[in-house]
Symmetry: C2
Subunit: 395 residues, 2 copies
Amino acid sequence: MFTITPIEGGVCAPEGFYADGVSAGLKPEGKKDLAFIYSETLCNIKAIFTKNRFQAAPIQHFKKESIESSNFVLINAKNANAMTGEKGVEDIDAILSHAKALFKEIENPVMSSTGVIGVPLPKEKILKGIESFDLLKKSPDAAAEAIMTTDSYSKQVAFKVTLQSGDSFTIGAMAKGAGMINPAMATMLCFITTDAAVDADEMGAILKECAERTFNAISVDGDTSTNDTVMLLSNGKSAIYNREAFIFALEKAMHELALKIVADGEGATKCVAFKVTGAANDEEAATAAKALTNSLLVKTALYGEDPNWGRIASTIGASGVECDPKSLTITFGNVTVYKKGEILFDEEQEAKAAKVMKKSSFSIHCDLGVAEGSFTAYGCDLGYEYVKINADYRT
Amino acid sequence: MFTITPIEGGVCAPEGFYADGVSAGLKPEGKKDLAFIYSETLCNIKAIFTKNRFQAAPIQHFKKESIESSNFVLINAKNANAMTGEKGVEDIDAILSHAKALFKEIENPVMSSTGVIGVPLPKEKILKGIESFDLLKKSPDAAAEAIMTTDSYSKQVAFKVTLQSGDSFTIGAMAKGAGMINPAMATMLCFITTDAAVDADEMGAILKECAERTFNAISVDGDTSTNDTVMLLSNGKSAIYNREAFIFALEKAMHELALKIVADGEGATKCVAFKVTGAANDEEAATAAKALTNSLLVKTALYGEDPNWGRIASTIGASGVECDPKSLTITFGNVTVYKKGEILFDEEQEAKAAKVMKKSSFSIHCDLGVAEGSFTAYGCDLGYEYVKINADYRT
């Protein structure tokens, strides 16, 4: 038993963590674009990275240094430092050496980047930016703002977890991401801090497990980028750990941030939970659910608030999972429009289903009726704004 | 040696074929929506169908009847007769029985449908429509128009193939398709007629081979529908056959129709050939090329005429094929922007690449530099019109 309470403070909520965001001149008009997270003691650190074959320089650097502990994470927006070759990794070495020279307390610093692919990192600007850092600032809002790219709002959560004994630990997180978000985690960054005394050996496995049901279950546009990163830093300051409570709180933090990312999908007006049940197994359920989040025809129908269940059925059929029209049931919210071969889509049902779709958040449930596999994936609609944002992104 | 000459006449160009399109009241405003193709002698017939698990009733009917020869194909637009259960197949039986009763010369009739999924076929309207048919009409334009859904123009080709001996045969074809077009052939119908005396045993294999490089190499929105069909009817009237010449002409006809479909992609303003070379093998080249045609970020960049080569690289990296930034080369038209790890993207090159992208048709060449595999896939941009068309399709 434990209680979990939302609190303020983002990544600075756990004891001993500091963060700030400054303007280094990468974004126009003096917007914040360079952030750091600092812990007063060394953290165990685990990260999950993109499966893209062209992993960006920060990921290459992290792997090259075999980072297992750190007390400083530097994050820049506007430039992904991807497809930049050895020069990209050398730039990181230079930048982090500079940070260590300026702040003697920094150990094993790591870097993370997001933004345009294929443009050399504006190293000088970042070096200058670091010089303005005050490591003991607690400005989580500024940090969360600095890592944004096409995001329309910053994304943070924090929870205090109190065990039955009265002992407590805290978990905080921030993320960025709005488009190019794929079931395989894309163009998103997420940094999670905790003062829980997490067992270092199982930290990686726990992070991965929670990612499967959160960041790996969302899609904005089906693309997978070069920089995607979910990073967990635990400094153990609370000296408290309860495995079950920690996993619950971590998944909750990641789940809330994942939904914030979907809701902020470029130009999105709706966040939809695609719940697939009755699949041959959980993997097939995930395949079908993710296919629904990625179908352009489904996404545009969501935008048009059109309960076009035929496109839902067609997408499931095209996803390659075991299914049969005679056992399939499709339900918008609580309005069933197709049940095991029977079309229940008269004018009344259509009006009811259309009403469900007018909400900014609702679920579409597809029961394949084959076996017991289930998975819920989260997606959004695709409207004019998505095209506008992405046709003009670089310019 | 042979010569191949474009001619008029679409599906009626080969000897002994007739076609027409009428209005049966499925589309509004008296638009044509019901077409037939009739051959005065029995044809060998082969078809390739969608891989969607929820194959529509017309496909189920074709398979149930084990159709190998026919002289009559009935095609309706506006209703896909998909997800309509046994009733959907029974409706086809009733409709085709009616056609046979009206026209004694009809043998083994088949049906094909396209349009909205999940709505019962308006059988009575189609029965009435058939009554207005004149089987000996040669109105290929009317037939090609009747099978359109969101197409903005009808799609036909015909070629006369003359062998060195002076003997000749003819091939004609019509297709529909504008959106929901996937590398795995979607929401498209294509009917090909020929008077060549094609060997019935190898007709299916030839059709499949040609489809791989044509209809299976195009994408508008990555979706795969329930009705997709490519059908080849050969009545042998010319008594002439030359395997090499026939394959060449068939692939040419299918290739031209495939490009017409891409160019008519819903809201598309550009048709782009994504040429991938240097892949580990042809399959990997196809995987990468098709991923490029399906990436929303690439498609919106095409629309924005933005030579955002980072998105091209990222999509290749995400496609899972063997590749390395150090061996990759990316070229827009004849402007190389990234060459084996080196970014050649200065202002001058960017301006040149942007100029290439202003064309309505151009190529993007990605040499993976791994081995010798190659494939070219054809795609289009995604703009506001696509969203508009698909948000409002049913209403």
